[in-house]
Each structure stands twice: as structure tokens, then as C-alpha cells.
């Protein structure tokens, strides 16, 4: 499996994602957002950070980066697209995922480890988890409050596009949504950071099964 980690100006979790993928034996590399070609990659990761400073709306400028047309193309080709934190925000801004991430219900950046439940165990991002399991995954964001109109939320629920939910909602997200995917199931975004929970040294390995899920999905397809 060959993976690209997109580095936008202001991305700051790009190397965390790269190292996590490499820990699982993935042939991963950083690709600048100034590039415009992603052919040859099986999976594309949009990492956390503050792209272009996020001085406007989070992800609102990054979606116009040259790389985003290639990301859209890859999504249409059915490749896996994974957006974490700022990457999730960019994917919603780009229209690759529905909804929007608003300022936290109680304004202010929060860094913590929060319990998540698996809303849909039959996805490329959750298949390695025990469906009944609660996992602790780090969060670090000021704008993680997932919002969508009622019709969109209903559709997300109906299609089982909600992948992860917060057990104790930290930011006011609608339906306790922590992560969603598109209808096809190949584009995924979540606010929590599984890449920060793969190494025992950090005291948390609950993110390992996220990467194992992706790997097994890709290998099954190959």
C-alpha cells in the first residue's frame, strides 16, 4: 500500500501521521499541497494542523490548494481519503464530506483524551475494532462542533455514514458525531487523532485498530 500525507502550509500533524503509517509498514510519504498529481497512491491522508493559519474559516483556504483537485479525482476514483482534524475540516469545505465544523459549543481549544464508540463497525476505518469497544482517542481542536441540517443528518444516519460517536460530547457536535464517511464509504473524516494513539510510549494505543482497519481493507481490495 502506498499512502500520501498531504502537507498544507500550516499542517502540523503531517509527520505524526507519516510516522504512524510507517509504524504499520505502510509505504507513506509527505506530498506538498502545491503538487497536483496523486496517481500511484492507494490512500491519501489529510492531517491535522492550522492550514494557512486558519485565520478565515478552518480549511476554507486549504480547499483551494492545487492538490485538492487531485484529492477530488482520487475520491471519485474510489481511493481512500482520510481527513483527521483539520483534514476533516478541509474535506467538508471541499464538499467531499457533508456538513461543517463549527466553533466548539463552549468556545476555546480543548486537548484531551475522550471516549469514542463505534457507530458503524463495517467500514474500512473500523473493521478491526470490537464493535462493543469504547476507545480513548486524543482530541485537540477549537472548531470540532459537527453541524449539518436535519435532512443531511437523517441521511447520514440512514446510510450508516456515522462512523464514530463521542461517548461524552466535548464540543456540541450534532448526534455526538466524531467521524463520518461519504455514501461510497471511501472518504472519511474525524476530529479525534488516532495517529496520536498508536505508540505505547504515549500511554495510549487505542488508535492502532484504526490503522489496522485501513490496512486490511486496502489489502483485501488489492
Amino acid at each position: 500500500m502506498k499512502a500520501a500525507v498531504i502537507s498544507f502550509p500550516g499542517s502540523n500533524c503531517d509527520f505524526d501521521m507519516l510516522y504512524a503509517l510507517q509504524d504499520f509498514g505502510v509505504d507513506a510519504q509527505i506530498v506538498s499541497a502545491k503538487e497536483n498529481d496523486l496517481t500511484g497512491f492507494d490512500a491519501i491522508f489529510l492531517p491535522g494542523g492550522f492550514s494557512y493559519g486558519d485565520y478565515l474559516r478552518t480549511g476554507a483556504i486549504a480547499r483551494f490548494s492545487p492538490i485538492m483537485s487531485a484529492v477530488t479525482q482520487a475520491a471519485n476514483d474510489g481511493k481512500l481519503i482520510v481527513g483527521i482534524c483539520n483534514g476533516f475540516q478541509i474535506l467538508t469545505e471541499a464538499g467531499l464530506l457533508p456538513g461543517q465544523l463549527l466553533v466548539n459549543a463552549t468556545p476555546g481549544f480543548i486537548c484531551d483524551e475522550v471516549p469514542l464508540r463505534i457507530a458503524n463497525p463495517q467500514t474500512a476505518f473500523t473493521n478491526a475494532y470490537d464493535p462493543a469497544e469504547t476507545m480513548m482517542i486524543p482530541i485537540a481542536h477549537g472548531e470540532g462542533n459537527y453541524f449539518a441540517d436535519d435532512a443531511t443528518l437523517a441521511k447520514l444516519e440512514e446510510n450508516q455514514q456515522v462512523v464514530f460517536r463521542y461517548e461524552e460530547n466535548p464540543n456540541g457536535s450534532a448526534h455526538d458525531i466524531a467521524g463520518i464517511m461519504n455514501e461510497q464509504g471511501n472518504v472519511f473524516g474525524m476530529m479525534p487523532h488516532p495517529e496520536r494513539a498508536v505508540d505505547a510510549v504515549t500511554g495510549n494505543i487505542d488508535g492502532q485498530n484504526f490503522f489496522k482497519s485501513i490496512l486490511s481493507g486496502i489489502l483485501a481490495r488489492a
Binding site: 502550509p9 502540523n12 492550522f50 486537548c111 496520536r196 504515549t202
Partner: protein, 740 residues
């Protein structure tokens, strides 16, 4: 001969109006300049002398004392005098660290003051060629019952979060405490730690005639003009106009500058001669100090300086403290590679001048020379030996130790847990990203934080500490205790303390009593640093922390770094398992003057400080480090503010377990703050080996339990406390008080 830019005062007008006194130059200093130049300095020249000779840049008043710092040992690769100090950590790697204060700006404009404090110290780290890996904050505020203090707390926390989170360097630790003396003078000290290959080491020197001076990063604006002079004066509530001296930060831009600078160091170390960040006194101090260190001269064409405002004058360009700017010296003829690299990152990068061999600092603007002065003279402010006198209060303190008044011990414990200085700061630290870079092995809330060195088994422990109340009662012994406590924090993780950076926050040095406190604090730091083999390799001085004549407590923040050889041995403060034995290391004595319980019960601190036993301290630390090294210890926590009972409860809260102990002391000693103590827990199978190692140093007082209650038996009573109730007070007290 230099000329004058239009609309500025002429040299004669500068002399007659004495405008330089508003910038902090004294008349005697002005006369020295006239004598050296053999003519009147023009407006720009008078301005650059005022910046370079300010205390904040020149340390002219503190230098005679700072020279006394012990700063060499076998690990030191770079001591004080550069952007940051550097220590060898083996395997060709080095750790780089320094602290900086942003006290004055944070009072005037809390968000930007704190944010740019983070930005400034990070530039000090990456200008040495090191990747910043962690930030710690040492903060002091007034009491939380004051609305203005709450505003400052909110702003400072948001500013640190806004900058540190965005640039992607984790804020892993630090400490926060509250005392009335900081109400008009909050302290915002930021420590940054970086990691580098020794081969990549850079210094801020401008060597080699003809080499290019390259300006990179943000454009220069009118923010923070002459901020260094602003930081070198006392506050007065009458001077609200000080606001213009605060800079505005842009963490996104700094991230680009940081990444590009580190890339330049990686790819072009052969052509980079020197790197320096533009901090206090901006372009002026960075350029003149680089040339002075190399014994060279420099010439700059100010029209080439990237500017974001129009009609800026040479005075403004030189003294602006706009953020996110760096100065590089690059070999002549090789400039293009560096310019290309920065421009590819969408950053300004311009050759603005060159190194000369005439020892002069020459500035040109609109084809005229606007300053021409000897660099050596410019960068060496006249030294000032100031008088010192023992503060009168010290002689007045009585030797008797305060005796806590205990009618309801349970309630006293709960009240103590609610004190802002004791209560958990998690609700504030929660705003900081402590985990980005995915290397944080021990997060905020323990004794020291621990950051793994990726690709090795090593980890770096780091902490900041000082209890200024102790220094107020005894500057020398209080300073010793600050270093000792910082080291106990490091040791409790299992790491070996290896070095110190400091943030010396004091009142006006022109007050002989304050100058004495500074001298004694430095002596006290040296006393313990030598015994620990932790040289003081960098630091910062912030004087004039007075508002309307009210000085802060002497507050020398100690930032310490430790090295842990095997990160798998890392030990945290939380109890691990019911049935583990609890030991106290070190003796508990009658130590109450300056304690949290004295402050809580009397509203003040008073009396002679209790003693510090150097030998006992070293013995306790050695024992804990050895015991962790032999993997005999399940948890370790140093005892500090609030004493034994607070230490036990913190280990209990962190581990979600209770305890049942018999301390064999009268109840009041639960609150004694005797230094040189730890609480450790030891699994049953290790207790024999631990006791053999400890000899008489450790006393077994009880066990870790699973119950809902914690139980403490003293010689006077049995205290039973609901852990959940106590933890709620400890966790939520700060939030309640901020909202109240």
C-alpha cells in the same frame, strides 16, 4: 558624517529636548556617546543606543551578577550568550533550551503578550539549528478574586494556546500560581526545548568580510517600537499609552519561518555562517550583536528591509519588534540558494547588507548614511555596579515557625485543595495541545513532563519551578529550594537532571534591596546546581517588575531538563495498584513559614524560612533515581506546596486509587513543607529490595487501597475523606473561581 532624515529632530534638538531620556538613556550615558563619537548623535543614533543600552538587551545592571552563574561541565556545548544553551545527550544528539519572559506585554495586552512570548522563545531554539519539541509555561497571576486578574489569566492562556497550538509544538508542562504581589505584574515565562544533531549547530555570528546579511520572514511594521526600553522600566497606571509597545504574533508565519530555517540548516550548513532571531530591539540587536561577536563591522541598506507600513523611518525600522523575523549571514556569492529556499516557502528573503572589517555599524537610508557608530561601543553598554543591601524585612522575621490552627482537619484539607496554587490547573492546561508531534510520554499534571526522542530509547524530562514565597522569606535558601524542587520533579520520572535555564523575575535593580535579592538568588541557584551537576546554560532576566512602587516577590523561575536513558522506565505520580506499599522518603519537620497553610490561614506569609539540608536532598534524589532505575518503584511524587497530605492525594487522584496510611506524626505535620521529600509506592514483591536500598531514608506509612475513602491516621486522630469529594474540589476549584 551622518545626515538627518526629514521631520526628525536635529542632533541639536535631540540634545536640547533630551528626548533620549524618554527612551531610557540617562544624561550620563548620552554624554558618553557624545564623547565617543566626538559629535552629537543624530535621532536614529540616539535611538539605537537607547535600544542597545536598555537593560532588556544589554543586561548592564544584572551582568555583574549573571557572570557568577556556573555554566560549564562535560555536557555543555554552548553556554550563555547565544540564542539558547546546548547540552550533549549522547549519540551525536544535543538538547537545546532556554526561557524567556514576556511579563510587561502580557499585562498590557495579555493575548498578544503571551502569544509572542511563545513565538520569541521558539525562534531562539530554531535559530540554533534545533527542532523545537516542547514548550513549558511558568505563570504568576494575582489572586483570582480580582476581575482584572481573571481577564489577564484568560488572555494569557488563550494567547499561549493560540500560538503554541497553531505552530504545532506541544505545551507539555509548566506551573501556575497566584499571589497578590503579581496583580499588577503578572509573570509569563516561557521555556522551549529543542533537539538537534550536534553537527547542525548554528551560532549567531557575522564572520567573513563581504558575506551577505539576509533578512527573512515577516515584514517590518510599527509594532513593538522600542519594546526593549519599555521592558526596562517600571509600570505606572498613568501610562496607558504603553500599549503600542506590544507586538502582534502570527504563528502560521512563524511555522513557515521555522520549517524553512531548519531546512536551510539541513541542506545548506556549508554556506550559512550565522543565524539569529530578531527579538528584543529587533533588527538592531540581531545585526549588531552578530557582528560584535565576530569582531566585525556591518553595513545595512534600510530601503531593502521588507516593510508592511509606509513612510517608516530608520529609527522605526531598527527598533521595531515585529515578530517572525530572522537574520542570516551567508557566504558571499552563495546567497541565491538561501533566497530561493525561503521564497519557495512564500517568505520574504532579501539581502539587506554585508559584513565589513572596519568594526563600524553603518546604516544607510535613501542613499544617505543615517548612522555610523563603533559596534563594540554600541554593543557594550556602560556597566553599572549597583549597591545592594539586605532587605530590612529579613532581619525582622522571627525564627518561630507558624503553627497551623486545626479544629476540623478534614475541612482544612478540603480548603487547602481549593487554594488556586494547590488546585489542579488541568482546566487551564486543557487549552494547550500537549500531544502534537506524538512524542509526549508524560503529559501535564505530573511532576515533570517527559518527551520521547524518536528513534531512540531516550526521553527528555522537563519542568519549571519556583516558590517565590520562600525567596521572599530568604532569597538564598529559597533559590536553593527552587533548584532542588525542579530536580525532584525530574528525578520523580526516573530521569537524571542535566541542566538549567532560568527566568529571573525581580523588581527594580535600582533598589539596593532588590539587587541584593537578585545576587542572593543567583548564589543559591549556583549552590545546588553544582551539587546536582546541572549547569545554568541559558536564561533571561526581567527586572522592573513593579507597579506603582509595589515589587513582586523575587521569582527566579528554574527551568530544568533531565535525561532518561530508557523511556520504558518512565515513572508517573499516580498510584498503580491496590496493595502497593506507600513510603515517605525524607524526614518531616516543623516547616510552616511561607507554607500554603500559613498563607491560607493568615492571609500572608511571615517569619524565617525553614531550613534546607543539602545532603538530605541529594540522598533523597539519589535513592529515588536508583530505585526507579532498578524498576522497584510503581509511582513517585515530590512533596511541595501543601505538604505530605497534598502529595498523597495527588498520587491518589492521578491513579484513581485510595490509600490508608499511618503517618506517626501529629496532624499539623501533614501540611509541613519540609523540602527533600518524596512519596513513592512500591509493589509488594519489590518492597524488600526497596527497603534494602533505602536504608533508613524511607518510612513505610501504609498501602494503596481500592476503597472510596482515603484514611490517614495521625498521632492525634483518624481522618477519613471521600476521595471523590476531595478530587472534585481539587479538579474544579480553578474553574469555579474563574467563573465567580
Amino acid at each position: 558624517m551622518t545626515t538627518v532624515t526629514s521631520n526628525e529632530l536635529t542632533p541639536e534638538q535631540v540634545r536640547d529636548s533630551k528626548i533620549y531620556t524618554q527612551w531610557g538613556l540617562t544624561e550620563a550615558e548620552y554624554d558618553l556617546i557624545v564623547a565617543e563619537l566626538k559629535r552629537l548623535p543624530n535621532f536614529t543614533e540616539a535611538g539605537i543606543f537607547s535600544g542597545m543600552w536598555s537593560e532588556h538587551v544589554s543586561y548592564k545592571k544584572s551582568k555583574p551578577i549573571l557572570r557568577k552563574f556556573w555554566s560549564t561541565n562535560e555536557r555543555v556545548l554552548q553556554g550563555p550568550g547565544e540564542g539558547a544553551g546546548i547540552l550533549d545527550i549522547g549519540d551525536g544528539q544535543a538538547v537545546v533550551f532556554k526561557a524567556e519572559s514576556h511579563n510587561h506585554p502580557s499585562f498590557v495586552e495579555p493575548y498578544e503578550g503571551a502569544a509572542t512570548g511563545v513565538g520569541g522563545i521558539l525562534r531562539d531554539i530554531f535559530s540554533m539549528g534545533a527542532q523545537p519539541i516542547a514548550v513549558l509555561d511558568s505563570l504568576r497571576f494575582g489572586e483570582l478574586d480580582d476581575a482584572h486578574t481573571k481577564h489577564i489569566v484568560d488572555g494569557v492562556i488563550a494567547g499561549i494556546a493560540g500560538y503554541g497550538n497553531a505552530i504545532g509544538i506541544p505545551t507539555v508542562g509548566g506551573e501556575i500560581s497566584f499571589d497578590n504581589v503579581y496583580a499588577g505584574n503578572p509573570l509569563v515565562n516561557v521555556m522551549a526545548v529543542g533537539l538537534m544533531d550536534q553537527a547542525a549547530m548554528q551560532v549567531g555570528q557575522a564572520k567573513g568580510v563581504g558575506n551577505a546579511i539576509i533578512y527573512v520572514g515577516a515584514k517590518t511594521g510599527r509594532d513593538g517600537i522600542n519594546g526593549a526600553s519599555f521592558a526596562s522600566a517600571e509600570f505606572s497606571t498613568e501610562h496607558e499609552s504603553d500599549r503600542s509597545a506590544v507586538q502582534v504574533g502570527d504563528p502560521f508565519l512563524e511555522k513557515l519561518v521555522m520549517d524553512a530555517t531548519l531546512k536551510a540548516v539541513r541542506e545548506h550548513s556549508d554556506i550559512i555562517v550565522g543565524i539569529q532571531d530578531m527579538g528584543a530591539a529587533g533588527l538592531l540587536s540581531s545585526s549588531s550583536e552578530m557582528a560584535a561577536k565576530a569582531g566585525m563591522g556591518i553595513t545595512l541598506d534600510l530601503n531593502k528591509v521588507p516593510q508592511r507600513e509606509t513612510h517608516m523611518t530608520p529609527y522605526e525600522l531598527m527598533l521595531s519588534e515585529s515578530q517572525e523575523r530572522m537574520l542570516l549571514v551567508v557566504k558571499r556569492g552563495e546567497e541565491q540558494a538561501i533566497l530561493d529556499l525561503f521564497q519557495a516557502a512564500d517568505l520574504d528573503a532579501v539581502v539587506i547588507g554585508e559584513v565589513t572589517d572596519n568594526g563600524r555599524y553603518v546604516l544607510s537610508f535613501n542613499d544617505e548614511i543615517v548612522a555610523d557608530v563603533p559596534i563594540d561601543f554600541l554593543t557594550h553598554a556602560p556597566k553599572q555596579d549597583l549597591p545592594m543591601a539586605e532587605p530590612k524585612r529579613l532581619a525582622a522575621f522571627t525564627a518561630d515557625q507558624y503553627q497551623p490552627e486545626l479544629t476540623d482537619v478534614k475541612q482544612t484539607i478540603l480548603d487547602l485543595l481549593a487554594q488556586p496554587t494547590i488546585a489542579s490547573k488541568a482546566s487551564l492546561f486543557r487549552h494547550f495541545d500537549s500531544m502534537v508531534r506524538a512524542d509526549t510520554a508524560i503529559k501535564p499534571g505530573g511532576d515533570a513532563s517527559l518527551v520521547r526522542v524518536r528513534g531512540t530509547k531516550k526521553a527528555l524530562a522537563m519542568t519549571t519551578d519556583v516558590n517565590a514565597r520562600y525567596l521572599y522569606l530568604n532569597p538564598r535558601v529559597g533559590a536553593k529550594m527552587a533548584v532542588a524542587e525542579a530536580a525532584r520533579n525530574i528525578v520523580a520520572t526516573g530521569a537524571l537532571p542535566i541542566g538549567i535555564t532560568d527566568g529571573l523575575n525581580f523588581g527594580s535593580p535600582d533598589n539596593p534591596e532588590v539587587y541584593y535579592e537578585l545576587d542572593q538568588a543567583v548564589a543559591g541557584i549556583n549552590d545546588v546546581a553544582k551539587q546536582l551537576n546541572t549547569p545554568i546554560i541559558s536564561g533571561n532576566v526581567s527586572l522592573y517588575n513593579e507597579t506603582d512602587g509595589q515589587a513582586i516577590y523575587p521569582t527566579p523561575m528554574i527551568g530544568m531538563v533531565g535525561l532518561l536513558d530508557n523511556v520504558d522506565h518512565a515513572t508517573t505520580i499516580g498510584f498503580k495498584q491496590a496493595g502497593d506499599a506507600i513510603y515517605v522518603i525524607g524526614a518531616t519537620q516543623d516547616s510552616f513559614n511561607g507554607s500554603e497553610i500559613q498563607k491560607m490561614q493568615t492571609g500572608t506569609i511571615d517569619g524565617q524560612l525553614f531550613g534546607f539540608d543539602d545532603a538530605a536532598e541529594m540522598a533523597a534524589q539519589t535513592l529515588v533515581r536508583q530505585a526507579i532505575g532498578q524498576q522497584l518503584v510503581a509511582s513517585a511524587h515530590d512533596l511541595a506546596e501543601g505538604g505530605l497530605i497534598v502529595g498523597l492525594l495527588e498520587s491518589s487522584f492521578a491513579g484513581h486509587l485510595s490509600f490508608n496510611v499511618n503517618v506517626n506524626l501529629a496532624s499539623q505535620y501533614l501540611f509541613a513543607e519540609t523540602p527533600s521529600r518524596f512519596v513513592v509506592s512500591v509493589a509488594a514483591e519489590n518492597s524488600a529490595a526497596f527497603e534494602a536500598l533505602a536504608g533508613g531514608l524511607a518510612t513505610r506509612i501504609g498501602d494503596v487501597t481500592t476503597g472510596d475513602d482515603v484514611v490517614v491516621t495521625t498521632t492525634t486522630e483518624e481522618i477519613v475523606l471521600s476521595r471523590e469529594a476531595a478530587q472534585k474540589v481539587y479538579q474544579e476549584s480553578i474553574s469555579w473561581q474563574l467563573k465567580a
